[in-house]
Structure formats: structure tokens, C-alpha cells
């Protein structure tokens, strides 16, 4: 577990930019991977993290320093992700962002990248409520209770969404030939 130092969280709440920078540095990779799972496209995931951090900074007064920081940050980020998905649904197909834009640099492992494209494609095929739960489970260090709080759901609901989600993902992944590698 690599949780945020409460002192940094308190400084962040009072608008300390240096504390905010530390937060960006600590969470940017997790949020990027979360964005990739939620939105599917590297360029959009890159915009997603910037929007999420800016939104967190704007709304820092709503963060309760008596509570852990992570669930709050993820809640903010999930809302940003939902808004982006909503906006994307309203865009005509031609104006949507293409896969593989240069905003995120690719590493050399091409085979791994192909597999991960299939993962993202399979995630895009399942219900958004399942996708969100799986993305949080695999890309955050939140406990089930914290996930439930971040998503505004009961513990039972989150468990059932995760369980249905992984089964739905497995079927989509299999259908796309993802298990071959």
C-alpha cells in the first residue's frame, strides 16, 4: 500500500501547489492506467488524468482531511471519466479521437501492446458499470469498502458488479481472441 501522507493531503486542501505536484507525481501512473481501462484510448487517458487532477484541485475544499485521500481522488476521477464517455457518445463518429495518438509514448514491447489493445477493446464491449468496477479493482489500491464509497454503492452491489464484470470481460476477451497469447 502506497497511500498519501496525510500531511500532504492537508497541505493540498489549503491550496499548496508543491503538495499538489507531489500528488500528481504519486498518482499519475495509476490514474493513467485507470483512464486507459475506462476510456480505451491512450490520448484520451492522458487528457483524462490532466482533467482529473485539475478537477481535484478545484474541488479540494470538498476533501475531508479526516478521511483517506485515495477514495476521494478516485471518485473525482471516475466522475471525469463518466463525463468524457457521455460527451463521446454525443460526438459524431468522425470526430472521436483515434487510437495510438502520440500523447502517450509507446514502449518497445509490441506484443504486450497488442494484447493490451485487446484488453481495452474487450473492456469497451462490457457495460460501463462493470468496466468502472473492474478498472478500480485492478488499477487502484482501494479496499472493497473504499471502492463502494467512491462509487456510491453498497458492499454487496460492488461485489456483484465485480463478479458479473469479470465474467463479462472474460467472454468478450475470449471472443476477441485475447487468450491466444
Amino acid at each position: 500500500m502506497n497511500r498519501l501522507d496525510p500531511e500532504i493531503a492537508t497541505r493540498f486542501r489549503s491550496g499548496d501547489r508543491e503538495a499538489f505536484r507531489l500528488i500528481v507525481e504519486q498518482y499519475q501512473n495509476q490514474l493513467f492506467r485507470l483512464g486507459l481501462k475506462l476510456l480505451g484510448q491512450p490520448a484520451e487517458a492522458s487528457d483524462f488524468i490532466q482533467d482529473s487532477f485539475l478537477r481535484a484541485f478545484e474541488r479540494r475544499a470538498q476533501f475531508d482531511p479526516g478521511r483517506p485521500f485515495d477514495p476521494w481522488l478516485y471518485k473525482v476521477a471516475l466522475n471525469v471519466g463518466r463525463e468524457r464517455l457521455r460527451r463521446r457518445r454525443e460526438l459524431p463518429l468522425g470526430e472521436r479521437m483515434p487510437e495510438g495518438s502520440q500523447a502517450a509514448e509507446a514502449e518497445e514491447n509490441l506484443q504486450q501492446q497488442d494484447q493490451q489493445k485487446i484488453v481495452r477493446e474487450a473492456l469497451a464491449r462490457i457495460k460501463p458499470i462493470y468496466r468502472e468496477s473492474l478498472a478500480l479493482r485492478f488499477e487502484s489500491e482501494l479496499s472493497l469498502k473504499e471502492m463502494a464509497r467512491a462509487l456510491g454503492l453498497s458492499l454487496g452491489t460492488i461485489k456483484s458488479r465485480l463478479s458479473r464484470g469479470i465474467n463479462a470481460f472474460q467472454k468478450a476477451y475470449h471472443a476477441l481472441g485475447g487468450e491466444a497469447a
Binding site: 491550496g15 499519475q28 488524468i49 485539475l54 509514448e105 463478479s163 469479470i166 472474460q170 475470449h174
Partner: protein
């Protein structure tokens, strides 16, 4: 254990949510059930795929970029609200007190939600709501900012 119970547990195991005792029971079922073994193999691959590194890396200067995009001066919270907060808090309490009896005796064709929506429209038409909405249209109302502790504020509207 039957297969439908095992199937639920297979999903839990792939999600890392199974206790050791449950995992042992499941393993015993799998020993005697080819269908569940096959299902388990599929879920294991799905789990590995979801947990694998994304193969992409962020631009190195992301933190700088985010900080550059912050508003130039960063006030800790929109001050204008603090002036209005006690007024709105009072209005909400009055609304709850006075609206209560009407909500219980609402006309049979209106749900509680519809009655509340009607009141919220009234507040909007009086211009109270706009004063509680920041320039980007996002509500930043927070009871804690006006000194109402979290233990109490969670029960307030």
C-alpha cells in the same frame, strides 16, 4: 458444492476476493469437475490480462503541464459562498420543517421526489441556487465549510 456456487467462487478468486478456506473448498470441487476447471482457466487468463502492465508510458513532464494549467491565483475556496452559506443553510432547514407536512399530505398524483423537485425549482426561480453555484457550474456547497461537522452534515440535504 455445486457448479453454480463454484462459478461464483471462481469469479471471486480471479478478483482476489476469496478466503483461504473457500479457496480450498473450490479446489476440491475443481478436482472432480472438468467444466469448472475449464471455466477457471478462462477466468485466470482474464485476470492476468487485466492485471498486466499497460505497455504505455506517460510523457515525463505531465506534472509540469498540469501545474501550468492551474488557475493563476488559487483562492482556497470561493469566498462569495461563505456569505451565502448560513442563509442557504437556514433556507434548507426552513424548507424541511415547512415542507414536511406537505410532503406527507402530498396530492396523490405527486411523488415525494416530484414535490422536492418542485421546491428546488422554486429555489432556482428565486435566484438562491445561482448564488450557490460557482462560475464553472459545479456545486461546491459543503457543510463542513460553515462549521457543520461531518457526523451531522451527512444527515442534512
Amino acid at each position: 458444492m455445486n457448479c453454480s456456487r463454484a462459478e461464483k467462487m471462481l469469479a471471486s478468486r480471479a478478483l482476489g476476493l476469496l478466503s483461504l478456506a473457500q479457496a480450498r473448498k473450490l479446489a476440491r470441487h475443481e478436482e472432480n469437475c472438468a467444466t469448472c476447471r475449464e471455466r477457471a482457466a478462462g477466468l485466470e487468463k482474464a485476470e492476468q490480462a487485466l492485471a498486466a502492465p499497460c505497455g504505455l508510458r506517460l510523457p515525463a513532464n505531465l506534472a509540469d503541464r498540469v501545474l501550468r494549467n492551474l488557475p493563476a491565483s488559487a483562492p482556497p475556496a470561493p469566498r462569495r459562498w461563505l456569505l451565502w452559506s448560513p442563509v442557504l443553510a437556514g433556507a434548507v432547514i426552513l424548507l424541511v420543517v415547512f415542507a414536511g407536512p406537505f410532503i406527507r399530505q402530498r396530492p396523490p398524483d405527486m411523488t415525494t421526489q416530484e414535490v422536492l423537485d418542485a421546491y428546488s425549482e422554486d429555489i432556482k426561480s428565486l435566484g438562491l441556487w445561482e448564488s450557490q453555484t460557482s462560475t464553472n457550474g459545479n456545486s461546491v456547497w459543503n457543510y463542513q465549510d460553515v462549521g457543520v461537522p461531518q457526523e451531522i452534515s451527512q444527515y442534512l440535504l
